[in-house]
């Protein structure tokens, strides 16, 4: 799944004091680092890197990981109510994948010197963000299909360029994620197509309703407009980000508008129309106030999602402790 332009959310970072003086050695190291970036080199975990590069990556990768893990909740909501055994098995596999993607990404972030527990602490206290899309509810079965088609579709657009991220452990994790992700989008579209082509009028209306609710939040997944993404330029410069928010969003709209026709649904945007001169679809204005409200904690499900994560973590504490105590005792026995 599922990053969005997390680089806009580092408000705490902005407050951190900048180091006033850099040694000559640091300046030389930084020049060598910049030269490697310019040459298209990958940066590995143990290579020297500027502190700001490290911090930007820790923030982005950990928030990406949190998004995968929190992203299990809206769909997990439907596992017990999937309409057939086949759909249930598919959904289980998909949700398990999201958990796996979270783990690849936490591991990639850990190579930068932050611990798993520190990252979870940041999530649980609300200091770290996750993708705003998961703060919307899954009201009907059609939502599961629409999440696959639109949300995973948007995520893939976002993630494919990250396979070429300059930070190699992140890039390697993304290669694995992208390889597994395409089934997510296809199963969603196929599920919706089945409802549209073989379903009842009520089922078709259910699909349209789900599309109406998820379309705009999906467009928001690409993050604020380029003009309002002050950190993007540095991330582009460092090869952490390869394509701008607006360019990716346009690419998504162009791909999706045609898919909607195949599906037989209407995208809820009266301004959506083909622009022959641009060879792209024009589309209407996005409600950025809603985006920021959801990012800053006031979406429909923010409190519920976070509470569920914290509850799972706290109620699992005794299991983690017991497993560690058992391992320690076994090690002692073997040593004796």
């Amino acid at each position: 799944m599922y990053t969005q332009a997390m680089d806009t959310m580092g408000k705490t970072d902005a407050a951190e004091p900048k180091k006033p003086v850099r040694s000559a050695e640091d300046v030389a190291r930084e020049a060598r680092f910049e030269a490697r970036i310019d040459a298209g080199d990958f940066i590995e975990a143990k290579d020297w890197m500027p502190e700001h590069y490290r911090r930007t990556l820790v923030r982005q990768i950990s928030q990406h990981a949190h998004s995968e893990i929190v992203g299990m909740l809206p769909e997990g909501n439907w596992i017990t109510r999937a309409p057939t055994l086949k759909r249930k098995a598919i959904l289980l596999a998909k949700v398990q994948d999201e958990g796996g993607h979270g783990l690849y990404l936490y591991a990639a972030a850990e190579t930068l010197g932050v611990s798993r527990d520190q990252m979870l602490e940041a999530l649980h206290t609300g200091k770290a963000k996750y993708s705003s899309i998961f703060n919307y509810p899954t009201l009907t079965w059609a939502d599961v299909g629409v999440i696959g088609w639109l949300v995973d579709g948007a995520a893939i657009m976002n993630q494919v360029p990250l396979c070429r991220c300059s930070y190699a452990p992140y890039a390697r994790a993304m290669v694995r994620v992208c390889r597994e992700e395409s089934f997510h989008q296809r199963q969603g579209f196929e599920s919706l197509l089945t409802l549209m082509q073989q379903g009842t009028d009520a089922q078709r209306a259910m699909v349209q309703d789900a599309v109406d609710r998820w379309w705009w939040p999906s467009l928001m997944m690409f993050g604020p407009p380029d003009a309002d993404s002050p950190n993007s330029e540095q991330s582009m410069r460092w090869g952490i980000k390869r394509i701008s928010n607006d360019a990716l969003r346009q690419k998504f709209v162009d791909a999706t508008a045609d898919q909607a026709k195949v599906l037989g649904v209407t995208l809820p945007d009266p301004d959506l129309k083909w622009n022959d001169a641009r060879q792209s679809y024009d589309f209407g204005a996005i409600d950025w106030d809603e985006f920021w409200r959801v990012v800053n904690g006031d979406g429909p499900c923010n409190r519920e999602r976070l509470a569920e994560r914290v509850k799972a973590w706290e109620e699992g504490a005794w299991v983690r402790d017991a497993a560690l105590a058992y391992a320690n005792r076994q090690a002692l026995k073997e040593a004796a």
Binding site: W48, Q96, G100, Y104, E110, S115, D117, L324
Partner: protein, 110 residues
């Protein structure tokens, strides 16, 4: 090789918070006859759990027929800061490659 192991002279090793399960590096053999290849890392309380989790995390689509796990702290690695000095001496020894030797066409498949 691994991203998370300690390295002599490395700038920073991952901090392991108290009570956190130790970190393991995972190596998977994708099919018989091939090498085990590093594919990532995970936290587990002991070796048996590490193997089981590696199966669940890294081989959900038949990517493996065999798994190795090793505690990350047990891996010793060369120092990336010394990379140039350490590996450069091999750069000027072209005579170690078969292509260095020009032979008549009739026997060049040798």
């Amino acid at each position: 090789m691994s991203d998370t192991q300690k390295t002599e002279g490395s700038a920073r090793a991952p901090t392991e918070a108290r009570g956190e399960w130790p970190l393991w590096e995972v190596f998977v053999r994708s099919k018989a006859g091939l090498d085990h290849k590093h594919c990532g890392s995970l936290h587990a309380s002991d070796a048996a759990m590490a193997i089981q989790m590696a199966r669940d995390v890294y081989t959900r689509r038949q990517e493996g027929t065999s798994i190795w796990v090793v505690r990350s702290e047990q891996i010793v690695a060369s120092d990336p800061a010394e990379k140039d000095a350490y590996f450069d001496p091999m750069a000027d020894k072209v005579y170690r490659h078969p292509t260095f030797y020009a032979l008549p066409k009739s026997v060049d498949h040798m």
